[in-house]
Symmetry: C2
Subunit: 338 residues, 2 copies
C-alpha cells in the first residue's frame, strides 16, 4: 500500500522532471491521485505513462496558458492549447463559477485540452462552492449504437453536482455498461463476459472478451436508453465545444494524436438565485431515501466514493507493481528515453 502523499509526490516529480512547471504538475498530479482515492484506478496513476509520452511528443504542452474568451455574456470558450486537462478545466471552472455569480448560469465550452480525469472532483468542488454543476466530456468511440455493430459512440460520462446542507450529491458515471479496461482484463484471463457487456464484430452479444476487443464494442448501460443518452451527450458536447464526433474523437488513450474531444460545463449559482433555503430540504430528502435501504442505508450518488476516499486516505492505495516501478523511474528521470 502506498500513501496518497507519496503517490502524489512521485507523480508530481515525474511530471516536473519531464518538463511541467510546478503549479501545473501539482494540479495534474492531484487529479490522478483523486482517481485512485475514489477507487477508479483507470483514472489514476495508470494514466501517467500516456501523459508523459504525450508530453514528450508535444501532444501535451504542459506549461501553456489556455485561451479563455467570453463569447457571450454567459458563455466562455476555452481553447486548451494542448494543456493538461485538469489545468485547463480548473481555469475554466474558476471563470465560469465567478460569472455565474452574476448571470445566474454560465457555460464553459472547452476544446483542444487533454484528458480531464474523473468528473466527480470537479462537480463536487463546484457544489461545495454553492453552485449546481453539469459536466460532460466526450471520449473515444468504444460503445456500439443500439442495434448496431462497431463502436461509434464514446463512453461519454455525465457528472452532476448538487449542493446540499451536508455533503453534496456527486454523480459521475459513464454511459457504457463497463469500461474497456475491464473487458480487456477479461479477455486476457479468458473469463466469460457477463450478459450485456459487449458485442462482437457482427453486432451480436458476446461473452468472449477477445471478440469484443477485436472489432466488437462494449454495450451502453441500460440498453437502448443508455445508448440514446450517450449519443445525445456526444451530440451536445461535440456541437457546443466545436469538437469531434464518434470515431473522430482521439487523443486521450493513444500517444500519437492530438486530443479532439470536448468538455462542457454548466454551472448555476444558488446564492445568486436565492435558493439556499432548499439545501436543508434536499438533505432531508436524501436522508429519507437513505433510510429505505433493504440491507443497509441506500447510497446517494457520491456516498460510495466518499467512503472509498476515506478508506484510501487511512489505509493507503494499492498500486500495480509495474505501474509503480515505471512511475518511480519517470520520477528519477531514468525513463527519459523510454
Amino acid at each position: 500500500m502506498i500513501s496518497p502523499d507519496e503517490l502524489y509526490e512521485v507523480i508530481r516529480v515525474a511530471l516536473t522532471v519531464n518538463g511541467a512547471a510546478a503549479e501545473k504538475a501539482e494540479i495534474q498530479a492531484a487529479n490522478l491521485v483523486e482517481g485512485e482515492l475514489r477507487g477508479h484506478a483507470s483514472h489514476g496513476i495508470r494514466r501517467l505513462r500516456v501523459l508523459i509520452e504525450r508530453m514528450r511528443k508535444g501532444l501535451i504542452d504542459p506549461n501553456v496558458e489556455p485561451d479563455l474568451k467570453w463569447i457571450a455574456p454567459a458563455v466562455l470558450r476555452v481553447d486548451g492549447k494542448r494543456g493538461f486537462g485538469p489545468v485547463v478545466a480548473q481555469r475554466a471552472i474558476d471563470e465560469a463559477v465567478a460569472r455565474a455569480e452574476e448571470t445566474g448560469i454560465a457555460l464553459a465550452a472547452i476544446s483542444n485540452s487533454s484528458h480531464i480525469g474523473m468528473l466527480a472532483p470537479y462537480v463536487e468542488s463546484i457544489a461545495k462552492r454553492g453552485q449546481a454543476a453539469l459536466l460532460l466530456t466526450t471520449s473515444e468511440a468504444l460503445v456500439h449504437a443500439w442495434g448496431g455493430r462497431r463502436a461509434t459512440v464514446g463512453t461519454n460520462p455525465i457528472g452532476i453536482g448538487v449542493p446540499s446542507q451536508g455533503e453534496p450529491l456527486v454523480l459521475d458515471m459513464s454511459t457504457a455498461s463497463v469500461s474497456m479496461g475491464k473487458v480487456i482484463d477479461y479477455a486476457a484471463t479468458g473469463r466469460a463476459l457477463p450478459d450485456g457487456w459487449a458485442v462482437d464484430a457482427f453486432g451480436h452479444p458476446t461473452s468472449d472478451g477477445r471478440a469484443a476487443v477485436d472489432g466488437g464494442a462494449i454495450s451502453p448501460f441500460g440498453g437502448p436508453k443508455g445508448y440514446a443518452l450517450g449519443i445525445a451527450l456526444e451530440a451536445l458536447v461535440g456541437v457546443l465545444t466545436a469538437t469531434a464526433f464518434g470515431t473522430h474523437v482521439v487523443g486521450t488513450l493513444d500517444t500519437e494524436l492530438p486530443a479532439t474531444k470536448g468538455d462542457l460545463l454548466i454551472c448555476v449559482s444558488l446564492e445568486r438565485l436565492g435558493l439556499q433555503g432548499m439545501l436543508p430540504l434536499l438533505e432531508q430528502y436524501f436522508d429519507e431515501v437513505r433510510q429505505t435501504g433493504v440491507a443497509a442505508p441506500v447510497d446517494i450518488p457520491g456516498d460510495r466514493a466518499r467512503r472509498a476516499r476515506g478508506a484510501h486516505l487511512t489505509n493507503g492505495i494499492r498500486v500495480d507493481r509495474e505501474v509503480w516501478t515505471r512511475a518511480l523511474a519517470y520520477a528519477e528521470g531514468s525513463l527519459a528515453h523510454d
Copy 2:
C-alpha cells in the same frame, strides 16, 4: 382510428366547454395530440379526465397568466400559478430562447405548473429554432432507490434537443425501466412482469404486478446507474425550481392536490456562439451511426417517434373506446357533473 384533427378538435372543445379560453385550450389540446402522434398514449387523450377534474376543482386555473421574472441576467423564474403545463412551458421557452440569443445560454425554472406532457415536442421545437435544449421535469415518486424499498424517486424524464442539418436529435426518456401504467396493465391481466421492472414492498425483485403496485415500486432503468441519474435529476430540478422532492411531489396523476413538481429548461443559442458550422458535421456523424445497423439502420434519438408521427398522421390514431366516449361527452358538456 380517429384522425389527429378530430382528436384535437374534441379535446379543444372539451377544454373550452370546461372553461379554458380558446388560445390556452388550443395549446393544451395540441400537447395531448402530440403525445398520441408520437406513440405515447400515456401522455395523450387519456390525460383529459384528470385535466378536466383538476380544472373543475380549481387545481388548474386554465386562463391565468404565468408570472415570469428574470431574477438574474440569464435565469428566468416562472410561477405557473396553476396554469396548464404546456401553456406555461411555452411562455417560458419563448422568453428563454429569446434571452439565449443575447446571453448565449439561459435557464428557466418553472414551479406551480401543471403536467407538461411529453418533453420531446418542446426540445424538438427549440432545436428547430437553432438552440440546443435540456429539459427536465420531476414527477411523482414511483421508482425505488437502488438497494432500497418503497418508491422515493420520480420517473424523472430527461429531454435533450440538438439541432442538426437535417432533423434534430430529440431525446425524451424516463429514468424508470417501465411506466407505472404498463405495470398496472400487467397486474390487471395477471401477466408476469419481466425481470428488472419492479420490486415488492420488501424491496425484492418481483414478477407479480400486484406486489409492485401494492407498496412496491418500479425499478430504475439500467440498475444503479439509472437510479443515480434519476435522483441526480430530482435533486437538480427540485433545488433550482424550489419545488418538492420524492414523495412530496404530487398533483399530476391525482385530482386532489396542487401540483408541486418543477420543470427546468436550459437552452443554448448556436447562432449566438457561431456554431452553425457544426450542423453538417453532426449530420454526417448521425449518418455514420445509422449505417452501423445490423438488421436495419440504427435509430438516432427522435427517429422512431418521427416515424410513428408520420404513420399516425396518415392512418389516424387508435383510441381506447371508453376514453373516447368520455372525451366526446366532455366536449358535449354532458359530463359537466361527472
